[in-house]
C-alpha cells in the first residue's frame, strides 16, 4: 500500500505545491531558508553600511530601526528555524528508518504557511508608518505606540510562523516516537534525531506563549486592553517576562539541532564513535529543561527584586554545566581520532570553537552586576551572534555540506567548500570580534550613530560583514553545481559515516524504507 502508485507525483510546480514527501518538503524548507538568509543578510548590510562612519548618511533612523528589527525576525524565524526543519524533514526519516514523516499532509501545511507568513512580514515594510521598528522583541510601550499597520502585520506573521513551527514539531515528535524501525530504540537513535526531538518539545512549550504575548500586544494596540499600561494596572515588564519565557528556550531551539549536527559530523571525520552518547542525550535534555527557568537574565536591568536577580543568575550559570559536557564530549571524540578535515568537519570544529567563545561571553553576561554594564551594548550583539552563527549557522552549513552528496548524488567541489568555510570564518570574526570591545567601551546597540572613538572597530566590522555575505555566493554556487553535476557520490559518501541514511543510494529514491530496515 505504501509503495507503487506513490512513486508517481505531479510534475512541475504542482509537485512542489502539493507534495507530501518528506524529501521534497525538506528541499522546500531549505530553499526558503536560504532565500530568507539572503533577505536578512541584505538587511544586515544596510545596518553595517550605515554604521561605516558616525553620523547619519545612508538611511534615516526610523528605517535603520526597521532594519535591525526585521533582520532579526527574518534570520530567526525565516532562516535558521526553517533551515533546521528542512534538515529534520530530510534526515530524520532516513536516520530512523521511517517511510516518511508521521503526518505527511500536515508536513506540507507547516511548510506552506511559511512563505505566506514571510510575505506578511515583508509587507509591513511597505506600509504607512513602516515596518516594526521597536526591536524584534516587540517591547511595549514602543510597539503599542508605533502607528500604522506594520506592527500588526508582524504580529499576525508571528502567529502564522508559530502555527507552522508547532505543527512541524508535533510531526517530529510523532515521527520519532512512532516511526522508528524495529530495533531502533530511543537510546540507539542518532544524536541529530535526539537533538531535534528535544527541540520539538521546546517549540511546543514556548511558541504558544509567544503567541499569547503578541496577542496581548495586539489587543493593547487595537482593542483597548491595558495589559502593558501601568496607569490602568498593567505592566510593560509583564510583556518582557512572557516574551522571554518564549525567548530563552528559542535560543536553544536554534542551537540544539546544530549540536545534533556536530555530534553527527565529528565522529564521522574523527573515525571514532561519539564519546559519551548517553551523557550527550542527558545534557541536551538538561539544557532544554534549564532553558525554561532562566528567562529573566535578559532583563536584569529592568528592576527585579534581588531574589529574582540571584535566582536567574545562578540558574543561568548552571547551563554552563551540561553545555560544557557537550563541548568536552566533542573534544574527547576527536582525541586520538584519525582525523581528516573535509568541509563538514571544518564547519563542525569551527562551530564548536565559535560557539564556545559565545558561551563564555554568555557566562560573563549571566553575572548580574556585570550585566548592568553590558546590557544593551554591542557586547550583547557580539555574544548572540557568536552563539547563533557559531552554533546554528555553522551547524547548518556543516549539515548541508555533509548530506548534500546524499541528497543530490553528486560530490560538491571540496576546494570551493573550504573557501566558503574560511572566508565565512574570517569574515564572521572580523565582523563580530571587535563588537566585544565596542560593547565593553560602551557603544549602545540599535542606534544608527556613534561617537568618534568607535570608528575603527565599526569599520572592521562592516568590512567583515560584506566579506561574510559575499562568501555565501560561493556556497550558492557549489550547492547548485552539486545539484546539477559532479563526481558521483557512493551511498556511503564518507568513509567514517555510520547510520541508516548511508545504506540507501545517493540520491535516495523518492520513497525509502517502505519496508522498515532491521536495526541490530
Amino acid at each position: 500500500m505504501a509503495t507503487a502508485h506513490h512513486d508517481e507525483h505531479p510534475s512541475g510546480i504542482m509537485r512542489w505545491l502539493t507534495t507530501t514527501n518528506h524529501k521534497d518538503i525538506g528541499t522546500l524548507y531549505l530553499v526558503f531558508a536560504f532565500t530568507m538568509a539572503i533577505v536578512g543578510g541584505i538587511m544586515s548590510l544596510v545596518i553595517r553600511s550605515e554604521l561605516w562612519q558616525p553620523g547619519l548618511q545612508i538611511v534615516d533612523p526610523h528605517f535603520f530601526n526597521q532594519m535591525t528589527t526585521v533582520h532579526a525576525l527574518v534570520m530567526i524565524f525565516g532562516f535558521v528555524m526553517p533551515a533546521f526543519t528542512g534538515l529534520a524533514n530530510w534526515q530524520i526519516p532516513l536516520m530512523i528508518g521511517a517511510p516518511d514523516m508521521a503526518l505527511p499532509r500536515m508536513n506540507n501545511w507547516s511548510f506552506w504557511i511559511l512563505p505566506f507568513a514571510a510575505t506578511l512580514l515583508m509587507l509591513s515594510l511597505f506600509m504607512p508608518g513602516g515596518g516594526p521598528a521597536g526591536g524584534w522583541t516587540l517591547y511595549p510601550p514602543l510597539n503599542v505606540q508605533q502607528s500604522g499597520p506594520g506592527v500588526d502585520f508582524t504580529i499576525l506573521s508571528i502567529h502564522m510562523l508559530g502555527i507552522s513551527s508547532i505543527l512541524g514539531s508535533i510531526n517530529i515528535i510523532a515521527t520519532v516516537l512512532n516511526m522508528r524501525a524495529p530495533g531502533m530504540t530511543l537510546m540507539k537513535m542518532p544524536m541529530f534525531a535526539w537533538g531535534w526531538f528535544i527541540t520539538a518539545f521546546l517549540l511546543i512549550a514556548s511558541l504558544p506563549v509567544l503567541a499569547g504575548a503578541v496577542t496581548m500586544l495586539l489587543t493593547d494596540r487595537h482593542f483597548g486592553t491595558h495589559f502593558f499600561d501601568a496607569a490602568y494596572g498593567g505592566d510593560p515588564v509583564l510583556f518582557q517576562h512572557v516574551f522571554w519565557f518564549f525567548g530563552h528556550p528559542e535560543v536553544y531551539i536554534l542551537v540544539l539541532p546544530a549540536f545534533g549536527v556536530f555530534s553527527t559530523i565529528i565522529p564521522t571525520f574523527a573515525r571514532k564513535p561519539l564519546f559519551g552518547y548517553e551523557t550527550m542525550v542527558y545534557a541536551t535534555a538538561s539544557i532544554a529543561f534549564l532553558s525554561f527557568i532562566v528567562w529573566a537574565h535578559h532583563m536584569y536591568t529592568v528592576g527585579m527584586p534581588l531574589q529574582g536577580e540571584l535566582f536567574f543568575m545562578y540558574a543561568t550559570m548552571l547551563i554552563a554545566v551540561p553545555t560544557g559536557v557537550k563541548v568536552f564530549n566533542w573534544v574527547s571524540t576527536m582525541w586520538r581520532g584519525a582525523m581528516t578535515f573535509e568541509t563538514p568537519m571544518l564547519w563542525a570544529i569551527g562551530g564548536v570553537f565559535i560557539f564556545t567563545i559565545g558561551g563564555l561571553s554568555g557566562l560573563m553576561l549571566s553575572i548580574t552586576p556585570a550585566d548592568f554594564q553590558y546590557h544593551d551594548t554591542y557586547f550583547v550583539v557580539a555574544h548572540f551572534h557568536y552563539v547563533i552563527i557559531g552554533g546554528s549557522v555553522f551547524g547548518l552549513f556543516g549539515a548541508v555540506s555533509y548530506w548534500l552528496p546524499k541528497w543530490t548524488g553528486h560530490m560538491y567541489n571540496e576546494t570551493l567548500g573550504k573557501w566558503h568555510f574560511w572566508l565565512t570564518m574570517i569574515g564572521f570574526n572580523l565582523t563580530f570580534f571587535p563588537q566585544h570591545f565596542l560593547g565593553l567601551a560602551g557603544m549602545p546597540r540599535r542606534i544608527p550613530d556613534y561617537s568618534l572613538q568607535f570608528v575603527e572597530f565599526n569599520q572592521w566590522s562592516t568590512i567583515g560583514a560584506f566579506m561574510t555575505i559575499a562568501a555565501q555566493l560561493i556556497f550558492f554556487y557549489y550547492a547548485m553545481q552539486s545539484i546539477r553535476a559532479g563526481q558521483k557520490a557512493t551511498s556511503q559518501v564518507w568513509e567514517g559515516a555510520e547510520g541508516l541514511e548511508w545504506t540507501v543510494p545517493s540520491p535516495p529514491p523518492y520513497h525509502t524504507f517502505a519496508t522498515p530496515p532491521k536495526v541490530k
Binding site: 505504501a2 502539493t18 499597520p149 512512532n178 498593567g234
Partner: protein, 291 residues
C-alpha cells in the same frame, strides 16, 4: 512501537495545505487592514475565513473517508494520537501565557505599583483593580457611583457554567462507553447531550458578557481586571465554540454510522479536547471568578 511491515499509509499529494495557508494569509491580511480602518479589509478577511471553512470540509472529509475506508493501520492511529496530544499541550501553554499574566499582575506588578509612593502616589492596589487611572471596583458594601465597575462574582452564572461543563464531561464519557459496547443509541444520546450542554454554556456566557457590558461597567477596557477577565474567558469561550463544532461533527458522523469500538480516533480526539476545555474552565473558575 514500530510497524512490522510496510503498511503505513502515505497520503498522495494534496492541494489542501497550500489552500489552507492561502486562506490563513487572506484572513490575517484582511484582519490587519480592517483594524487599521481600511474598509475593504473585512472583505479580504471574510474571503479568507470562507476558504478556511470550505477547505476544512474538504480536508477533514478526505481524512474521514480514508479512515472509514480502512486505510489507517494501528501505527497511523498512534501518530494521530501523539499529534493530538501534543497539539492539546501547545494549547495548554497558550492558556498558560494568559494565566501567567494574571498571576504576575496580581502577585507582583500590582502590589509593587501600590506599595511605594514613588511609582504612583496615592494608589493602593487590591484586586480587582483597574489601576490608578481606571475605574474603581465596587465592593459589596459600597454605594455605586459613576465611573465604577462591578467585578464578576463566582456564584451566579459561572457556578452554573461549572456544573454544566463538568456534566458535559460526564455525558461524553457516557457516550464513549456506549461506543465501546456498540450501544449506538447511548453514543448518540450522550453526544447530543454534550452538544446541548456546550451550547447552553456558550449562551450563558454570552448573556454574562452582555450583562457585564451593559449593567456592570465591565468591559475589555476596564483596566487590567477587564483585560485579563475578557482575554482568559474569551479565549476559553472560543475554544468551547471550537469544541462544540467538533462535537457536532462527530455527532453527525455517529448518526451516519461511523466509529467502531476498536477504531474511533476522531471521537477520542474530540473527547480529549473537550476535557481539556473543561479543565481550563476549572482554573478559570477558581482564579478568575472565585479568588
Amino acid at each position: 512501537m514500530s510497524a512490522a511491515n510496510g503498511g503505513y499509509y502515505l497520503p498522495n499529494p494534496s492541494p489542501w495545505p497550500i489552500v489552507t495557508s492561502a486562506g490563513l494569509f487572506s484572513l490575517a491580511l484582511g484582519f490587519v487592514l480592517a483594524i487599521n480602518g481600511v474598509g475593504f479589509g473585512k472583505w479580504i478577511a471574510i474571503v479568507g475565513a470562507a476558504i478556511l471553512i470550505w477547505v476544512m470540509f474538504r480536508w477533514f472529509g478526505e481524512v474521514i473517508g480514508e479512515s472509514e475506508g480502512g486505510k489507517y493501520n494501528a501505527q497511523v492511529d498512534r501518530s494521530f494520537r501523539w499529534g493530538m496530544s501534543w497539539f492539546i499541550f501547545s494549547e495548554v501553554m497558550f492558556f498558560a501565557a494568559f494565566f501567567g499574566a494574571l498571576f504576575y499582575v496580581r502577585h507582583w506588578a500590582g502590589p509593587w505599583l501600590g506599595d511605594t509612593e514613588l511609582l504612583w502616589p496615592g494608589f493602593d492596589f487590591h484586586w480587582p483593580s483597574a489601576g490608578p487611572k481606571g475605574p474603581i471596583a465596587i465592593e459589596p458594601d459600597m454605594t455605586p457611583a459613576a465611573s465604577q465597575f462591578s467585578p464578576m462574582g463566582a456564584w451566579g452564572i459561572p457556578a452554573i457554567n461549572t456544573a454544566i461543563l463538568l456534566s458535559s464531561g460526564a455525558t461524553i464519557t457516557w457516550a464513549h462507553w456506549g461506543l465501546l459496547k456498540s450501544n449506538r443509541a447511548q453514543l448518540i444520546t450522550g453526544l447530543f447531550l454534550t452538544v446541548a450542554l456546550g451550547v447552553t454554556f456558550l449562551s450563558l456566557q454570552a448573556f454574562e458578557y452582555i450583562h457585564a457590558y451593559t449593567a456592570m461597567g465591565l468591559t475589555m477596557k476596564t483596566g487590567i481586571y477587564g483585560a485579563t477577565f475578557f482575554m482568559l474567558t474569551g479565549f476559553h469561550g472560543f475554544h468551547v465554540t471550537l469544541g462544540t463544532i467538533m462535537l457536532i461533527v462527530i455527532l453527525g458522523r455517529a448518526l451516519k454510522g461511523h466509529f467502531r469500538p476498536d477504531h474511533h480516533f476522531g471521537f477520542e480526539a474530540v473527547a480529549w479536547y473537550w476535557h481539556f476545555v473543561d479543565v481550563v474552565w476549572l482554573f478559570l473558575f477558581i482564579f478568575v471568578y472565585w479568588f
